[in-house]
Amino acid sequence: MVLKFPYRLAPAGQIIPSLPGRTVRPRPVVPITLIGPHGAQPFYGTLDTGADDTVFPETFAALVGVDLSGAPSCSAQGVGAPAVTLRYAEVVLQLSDGRDRRQWTSWVAFAPLKLPRALLGFAGFLQFFTATFSGDVEEVELEPNHLYPGI
């Protein structure tokens, strides 16, 4: 079954020059639950086709009981930002659109950054779905593909 998520409409408080006539910015953000060995934490994430990895703030690792000591690591860099070290762990992710629920195990990164939202990038998230971003109706559809490892 396809999961559907309408874009969130965030007020800009003014007419947006690049979206003539509009005062809200559509953003593909979805609530997702990060599940570790000792806990679960619902959090919003941004569906980000430009992100190589799925990334959560390091604060969450302790919340759900993920031990990052000795974790595999990699360097990463955001737009206009200095490089940081990402540390990786295997977790469970759970996603619901209010009708259907999906849960799968994947490798995600934890960053020493003050991320406003998780980055739901290719590895660990988008690799498992056929994602259709409909700019006209401002909705994203996620259909599990043959790589999807969950239930």
Binding site: L9, G13, L63, Q94, Q103
Partner: protein
């Protein structure tokens, strides 16, 4: 890690997703813009807020609330566009 070896149940976000506001009201964005907030699982109330995730989590705990029983969010400040993570 599998569901079998867990001793807790992750909250069901079905009701939250059905109830969450698609449009963030301007008044809410003006009040909480730039803050981390914790929504109730019914998406009908902001339980706590903070300038950082760490402050928000501390505030939830100070109120006797489990962070896992809330959906943590960030309210974008009005007039701020995003280009990528930094």
């Amino acid at each position: 890690m599998t569901a079998k070896n867990r001793s807790f149940i992750a909250p069901d976000l079905g009701e939250f997703v059905r109830n969450q506001p698609r449009v963030i009201p301007l008044e809410l964005a003006q009040k909480y813009g730039g803050k981390h907030v914790a929504w109730s699982l019914k998406a009908d109330e902001i339980l706590a807020f903070g300038d950082s995730l760490e402050e928000l989590i501390e505030e939830l705990k100070n109120r006797g609330l489990e962070p896992s029983q809330a959906v943590l969010d960030y309210i974008d400040p009005p007039e701020q566009a995003w280009l990528g993570w930094s």
